[in-house]
């Protein structure tokens, strides 16, 4: 069991090992956020338990278009900062099309964080295999601090959901999750995700979720058959 640390707790006297969630002052490493203390031989970090989504380069996020401009789109990514998707970063853009013919206000997209400047101006890109405009399926919103649980250890939870329900899932690091597939199965997945979000302790959660899906699947089966 890993220890819960609070801001200001002394973690190490060696500043070289300082990682995420820590800060250095006078050559000592302290925790700066509430979280779980994670220590390896070369690195120490604090895994956050709470907090808003703060983008980092390379994150896959699900966003909603909020504004259309001549040179791109302003996208809400459920964070303190709005992101910008330039037209040059959208492969769907063609010379004879205007930006609002490709993405309109209210459209959802899957994109990657390309760059963040020191003023926290976030630039997105859709030039990636998994990026696309979302025109079908469903979006589920959860607390971004719970995203690692929905993914599971080495993606075990996602594999379970995909395998058991035969659906497509993309988990945005910002806590928005896109699900696509058979409508009833998507509903079960949505309930399962909310269940994962709510469970405070994850001991054996994967098994419990598997059980939950089995039960819901048989319920649905009875109703239709």
């Amino acid at each position: 069991m890993r220890k819960v640390v609070l801001p200001g707790d002394l973690l190490s006297t060696n500043p070289k090992v300082a990682g995420y969630g820590t800060y250095i002052e006078n050559g000592k490493v302290y925790a700066k956020i509430l979280g779980l203390f994670d220590q390896t031989e070369t690195h120490i970090k604090v895994i956050p338990l709470k907090g808003r989504y703060i983008p980092t380069v390379g994150d896959v996020v699900v966003g909603i278009v909020r504004e259309v401009a001549a040179n791109g789109w302003l996208v809400d990514i459920h964070s303190p900062y709005q992101a910008f998707l330039p037209i040059t970063e959208n492969p769907e853009v063609k010379l004879n099309k205007k930006p609002n013919e490709i993405l309109e206000i209210g459209d959802a997209i899957i994109a990657k964080v390309l760059n963040i400047d020191p003023k926290m101006k976030v630039t997105l890109s859709m030039k990636d295999r998994m990026c696309r405009a979302i025109r079908f399926g469903r979006i589920v919103a959860i607390n971004p601090a719970r995203v690692p649980r929905v993914i599971g250890k080495k993606g075990s939870m996602i594999k379970l959901l995909k395998g058991e329900l035969d659906i497509q899932i993309v988990v945005g690091q910002n806590g928005l999750i896109w699900i696509n597939g058979d409508r009833r199965k998507v509903s079960i997945a949505e309930e399962a995700i909310y269940l994962i979000e709510e469970e405070a302790h994850t001991e054996g959660l994967t098994d419990r979720v598997a059980e939950f899906i089995e039960r819901r699947k048989s319920d649905v089966g009875e109703q239709t058959g």
């Binding site: 890993r2 801001p7 956020i33 709470k50 303190p80 601090a145 690692p148 993914i151 405070a200």
Partner: protein, 253 residues
């Protein structure tokens, strides 16, 4: 309506409510009590009942308040109309504006606001029932709420007041001691790794000597350490259940 001035504050080395000079009033702290806030805390300190809520970092409205280099911090101390013996007219007054300002400055020195440029961290503290030292109770509650919200900070803030009655310094004054005492000194400290690092708030009203100020500081430090332990316990109690231990998956679908 208001309690009248007692003849003596100290009888046989005991205070009016039976406490010794360096004893705190009973304290109860509970973290994460509000669903819609990012972080929250309910705190009772004697007859004080306060609730703190933290939102953010979030987008700043209106836009012109935005700071491109760091987050702005907003703190609002507010008393409910029913919190005092005689109904208080709702809305901010001179006293609450001043308390909000000094409290905000206390938090500005510990929150790592340069991590969130162009954003705002909003702290709202509501006094539901007031006794003496409601500003210190609010600071303690706000500190727990900020930790609960996952806001990066250099350490935690713990606050306590010292008063002078009948020529003696007493810790954590109650209403009579505050209203009719000779001096009242609220303190707030930055506590890091279980040690008091610095003073982040210091006010004084009344008359004390230079030596008494030093003595008051020692007394406040002792009280602050006790409160700090309770603040820690309140947060750990809430999060000890949380175990994302087995997870370290960053892989995406």
């Amino acid at each position: 309506m208001l309690a009248s001035k007692p003849d003596k504050f100290i009888i046989d080395g005991k205070r009016l409510d039976g406490r010794t000079f360096d004893q705190l009033r009973p304290i109860k702290i509970e973290a994460n009590v509000l669903k819609r806030a990012d972080g929250s805390c309910l705190l009772e300190m004697g007859k004080n009942k306060v609730v703190a809520a933290v939102y953010g970092p979030r987008e700043v409205h209106p836009r012109h308040l935005q700071d491109p280099s760091k987050a702005i911090i907003r703190y609002r101390y507010n008393m409910a109309p029913f919190s005092v013996e005689e109904r208080k007219r709702p809305g901010p007054d001179r006293r609450s504006i001043e308390i909000s300002k000094v409290s905000k400055e206390a938090f500005e020195s510990v929150i790592m606001k340069e991590l969130f440029p162009r954003s705002a961290i909003d702290i709202f503290v509501e006094v539901l029932q007031a006794d003496a030292g409601s500003r210190t109770a609010c600071l303690n509650a706000a500190s727990v709420a900020l930790v609960d919200a996952g806001v990066p900070m250099r350490g935690m803030i713990t606050s306590v007041a010292v008063a002078k009655v009948d020529g003696v310094l007493v810790l954590d004054p109650m209403k009579e001691e505050d209203n009719f005492g000779e001096a009242d000194l609220p303190f707030a400290f930055l506590i890091r790794n279980g040690r008091i690092e610095s003073i982040v708030l210091l006010q004084m009203d009344g008359c004390i000597t230079r030596d008494e100020l030093k003595q008051a500081l020692r007394l406040a430090k002792k009280g602050a350490m006790e409160i700090y332990k309770l603040q820690r316990e309140a947060i750990l109690r809430r999060y000890i259940l949380e175990e994302i231990d087995e997870l370290s998956g960053d892989e995406n679908a």
